[in-house]
Symmetry: C2
């Protein structure tokens, strides 16, 4: 056995940070990227430029890889089955990944497992949305295309049947869900290996602004231990039942009446786990690599009392580098993670991590740095 | 100002780990490497294959770089001056770097600064070595070629003039030094930026086996605070007086009579600082990048009570990867850093870091992992 080749499909920031985490392991990392300018393509040695939607491109890329894993969930399921038929391990495999690709499949499976979810069903047109609303507490209702949505895209909150026309225009099945009365969003991150070892990171609180993750606090403050345990066990059970290999993020609603409901699943390193790069003994990226290689997993426990991750979004100023001077001088413990992306307003171009014993201080430092880099804070 | 390009000369493991540390900063990293198989060339996107001893190769490489820095100290001084004349910042600069290249120049400068060193002088032949011995406590005497030695190479310990012929054969000036009666070796690591900001890492103990660094303990156990402070101040003063930019490692002898004497200087990230990758708030590699870019430096303080680094040397078994299974399963907190090098007996191919509150435990875990990877421990 020699050092294996991990093939990563997709050149985004998750691939970039997975490469960073793989370097110390001495493994070979091969990237399939849309363009040479993609986030990960800028920092990886062995890059193939090509379209993951093309099966022959994928097949050619996979030759010489010991395992294939993903920066995103958009590779067609039938392509993944073809790679498996070629004898290439695909992790997570297509039968697991479909639950992160198709929200209809995901909801049906979680229902079958008895995992608590928001009330939901597939709807066929605006009149059917009105019927779904009437079956429960009425409007508002959340509508989601079952495939293709992320960061608030492909998601609508509608107050009437008249507002519900838009989601049906794409011709993709539409899932209706109750608008959950939640007090906050949580995420349970777990990593599972092919032979079934699994580790759970502490449950985190994820704060959204305009449908995009703004801040993550690890661990989630003031979370009852019983609820934390329930969320961790739920994530571990989903990972096992769905045969997930690699990182699984379970996004959760904490309801006003003290329950946790599953919002979304992601089967790859996830924004809600970025805190682990500086805040955990083993980062989500390092553990994802270990999992897909079927190596023993690393300790997921936190290294600090509190760790806060704040996403850096693009603002009006294209030059974020010059903001480093102030941010680094102000906070010598600040951890900046930039993705090599062009700045566009609202685009996730990086994140910062801070950690320490005092949550207010740790939060303030993360928010200040993210705001200063974006240009919304100027002192 | 946009994200800068750091040009790294040399494709060894220090370049590899500097790239790893630079990824989160979003900078561009360009590598000049001897071969595509070199440690860093395996993991960097933008690689030029060429010979750093050829000025035109260096010049072509430097075009488009915002700053040049180094994996090693072997680039000829006159080449560095030529790059500076071309307007490319070279960090550390040639006037600083010569002190890490030429042990004769280094000793003369440290003498002028009043920095305590072992008794020493340049010697011309074996008879002169005998004279040098007679001027002090006699044999043994340490002989070093002033250029080109590392890890015990280019260093001889001789017990008589008759044994002293070998070092003179290369035609390079030879430095004679007293064999210091030391109780242990220490290292003071500091990083300095062009505008003069500097940070000091805690002084570490470095344990050698057969002239090669085996283990580093951070901080050095049972080191009197006054001596630690003296060593840190000495390193900061040397960095300032020699106008070092980037990382400076000052290797020290702690003598039986309670003094610290300078053994060697290295002006690049250094083996004695590898512990900082997992044990300090900011690693030596991250701070080296920040320094050469004249960014504010990161906090060098330790994150754990004790951190131990153990070098992984090549043994009789070429396949280290299969040893990961046992090492990772035994110690989920273990940090492995492999360099992508072919295993050859005695060659440094990686290191491991461990940290925690109990030094005996931390030492045992590091030694076990390094020994198991090498193949000298089999259970």
């Amino acid at each position: 056995m020699t050092f294996p080749v991990v093939g990563m499909v997709g050149g985004g920031q998750l691939a970039r940070m997975t490469h960073e985490a793989g370097i110390p392991l001495g493994i070979r990392f091969k990237l399939l990227s849309d363009t040479p300018q993609d986030s990960a393509a800028q920092v990886v040695s062995d890059v193939v430029i090509g379209d993951y939607r093309d099966l022959e491109t994928l097949r050619a890329f996979a030759r010489g890889c010991d395992v294939i894993t993903f920066d995103h969930e958009h590779v067609p399921t039938e392509h993944l089955r073809a790679l498996e038929a070629d004898g290439i391990p695909v992790r997570p495999g297509p039968e697991a990944l479909v639950h992160a690709q198709d929200k209809g499949v995901m909801r049906a499976r979680l229902d079958a497992l008895g995992v608590p979810c928001p009330r939901h069903r597939i709807v066929s047109d605006p009149a059917d949305v009105a019927a779904f609303a009437a079956e429960g507490d009425g409007f508002p209702v959340v509508l989601k295309t079952v495939r293709g949505g992320y960061d608030g895209k492909g998601v609508w909150v509608v107050d009437s049947a008249a507002e519900a026309a838009e989601p049906f225009r794409a011709g993709v099945p539409v899932l209706a869900e109750e608008k959950v009365d939640f007090v906050r969003e949580l995420a349970a991150n777990v990593v599972r290996s092919p032979h079934g070892q699994a580790v759970a990171y502490p449950v985190v609180e994820s704060r959204q602004v305009n449908g995009v993750c703004d801040t993550v606090i690890a661990p989630a403050p003031d979370l009852a231990e019983s609820l934390a345990l329930q969320a961790e066990e739920m994530a571990l059970r989903i990972a096992k039942e769905l045969d997930v290999v690699g990182h699984l993020a379970v996004e959760l609603f904490q309801t006003r009446d003290g329950r946790v409901l599953v919002n979304e699943l992601a089967m790859r390193p996830h924004n809600s786990g970025h805190w682990s790069m500086d805040g955990a003994i083993t980062s989500q990226f390092a553990n994802h690599v270990r999992a897909v290689l079927d190596l023993p997993l690393g300790d997921p426990r936190p290294r600090a009392r509190w760790t806060v991750m704040a996403n850096v979004l693009g603002g009006d100023y294209p030059d974020m580098y010059s903001a480093y001077l102030h941010c680094m001088a102000r906070d010598p413990q600040l951890k900046i993670h930039m993705y090599g992306k062009d700045v566009k307003p609202g685009r996730k171009v990086g994140h910062v991590n801070t950690y320490g014993d005092d949550l207010d201080d740790v939060l303030e430092r993360a928010r200040h740095a993210a705001g200063y880099l974006r240009g919304t804070i100027t002192e």
